[in-house]
């Protein structure tokens, strides 16, 4: 099926959808910025930036509410069908998922404020690379939404494995480090949670990608395209 959609006879409906896509782009952009900001705050021990990220999450929450209201209103007033209906349902689910991504970024920022910066923990040296891969995943998921790109959505789901692999490496390294240096357990645990938060953000990016796929293709992404969801260590 061709996805270059014509305009609706009722132009106001197109106006609603354009507004909604703008809101999704904004909430996605803010969530990505929050992840980036939280990790920059961690790298530079920048408490001001960390507080900005915590504060900025309120805007993400407000956007989620705005999107939900708009989706419900559009369903009620426009009685959407087919592609339109799927896009609206996807938008509703995506807004909830992005709000969670924002919460994880906020949680990372809060931990930055608690970590004793004097403790250098070499075991966490992969965290910036993991953060980069995670941020890219979020970015790609929202690019896929903006472009109605089912292939990119599939790629996001496949790429999530990279983030999971980072998490597994960091998990083992940090546990080994904390066994060796029990005085680092406080900071080490914070870093471990930060890695876990990034891993969850990656999962949520794949949720966004799955919704994009559904909206575009009219069916769920199959198991093979999603890739194996390997159990992270410690989650059993």
């Amino acid at each position: 099926m061709n996805h270059s959609l014509n305009e609706h006879t009722l132009k106001a409906f197109d106006g609603d959808l354009i507004t909604l896509r703008g809101l999704i782009a904004e909430i996605g952009g803010r969530a990505e910025k929050a992840v980036e900001g939280a990790m920059a705050a961690l790298a530079n021990n920048d408490h001001d930036l960390a507080r900005q990220v915590v504060e900025g999450d309120k805007r993400i929450d407000a956007l989620e509410e705005q999107i939900d209201r708009m989706v419900i209103q559009t369903i009620a007033l426009r009685a959407p069908m087919a592609d339109d209906l799927r896009e609206l349902v996807a938008a509703l689910k995506i807004s909830g998922v992005v709000e969670r991504i924002g919460d994880y970024a906020k949680n990372i920022a809060k931990r930055v404020l608690l970590i004793d910066a004097d403790q250098q923990i070499d075991a966490a040296r992969l965290l910036p690379a993991m953060a980069d891969a995670t941020r890219q995943l979020v970015d790609d998921a929202f690019t896929a939404f903006a472009k109605r790109d089912a292939d990119l959505a599939v790629a996001v789901c496949a790429q999530d494995k990279t983030v999971d692999d980072f998490y597994n490496s960091i998990f083992r390294a940090l546990i080994a480090h904390m066994i060796e240096y029990p005085e680092h357990v406080g900071a080490g645990t914070h870093l471990l949670f930060i890695a876990k938060n990034l891993e969850r953000i990656g999962d949520h990016a794949t949720n966004v990608a799955e919704m994009v796929y559904f909206a575009v293709m009219g069916q769920s992404m199959n198991e093979r395209e999603r890739g194996d969801d390997a159990l992270a260590p410690g989650s059993d």
Binding site: L5, H8, A79, M81, A82, D83, D84, L85, R86, Q219
Partner: protein
Amino acid sequence: MLDNLASATTKPKMSARDVRVFYGPKEAIKGVSIDIDMDNVVAFIGPSGCGKSTFLRTLNRMNDTIPIARVEGDITLDGENIYSSSMDVVQLRARVGMVFQKPNPFPKSIYDNVAYGPRIHGLAPNKAELDQIVENSLVRAGLWNEVKDRLQDSGTALSGGQQQRLCIARAIAVDPEVILMDEPCSALDPIATAKIEELIHELRGRYAIVIVTHNMQQAARVSQKTAFFHLGTMVEYGDTSDIFTNPREERTRDYITGRYG
């Protein structure tokens, strides 16, 4: 398109194969094949002039009344060709009843409106049985409680929604197998519409039902199968839930999402 037709396990009540309708030289229906079974209400949707009503009318030979209309292809009822010379058209229209857009009760009493068909078809040997048929039909049409104390009042004195249910009762009275409805709610208010839709739900299974509607929400509400017609062809026929969430054809998608034209 053949994969849309009923599987061998369920025998269709009515089948159309490569049906073409001509009004003079103009081909209004260009080769439509469809199966209609007892278990599913079938909705025909499509823009004005797409042929959905024309096709519906082929199913009980209503087009016979239009001199320039000509029908080709096969339409069967229980496997029997309804256009064969041995088919009694009056009998056919009793087996395949029709309800129209505007309620059209006879200018007779409520009782006589419903009793008319059974009388001319000789379905009731005596008054008591006729009374029973009238009552049963009005009960099934959801009208009995509203009219049981005034059966001798004129049918035309009822409200629009009641008149339409009276017409459904009249169609039911001759014990049809198929009921065709051509935009049965377009002249009714939302409450009367809801009553007709509820009635369609209740009649499902007892009769094969085909409904033509301009209201896509109505098609979504009352039918299990939907056929989309466009420019004399049947573009897509499938489960209503699929048609409205994930149509296969772009023309269907454009129409149901309001992008048509």
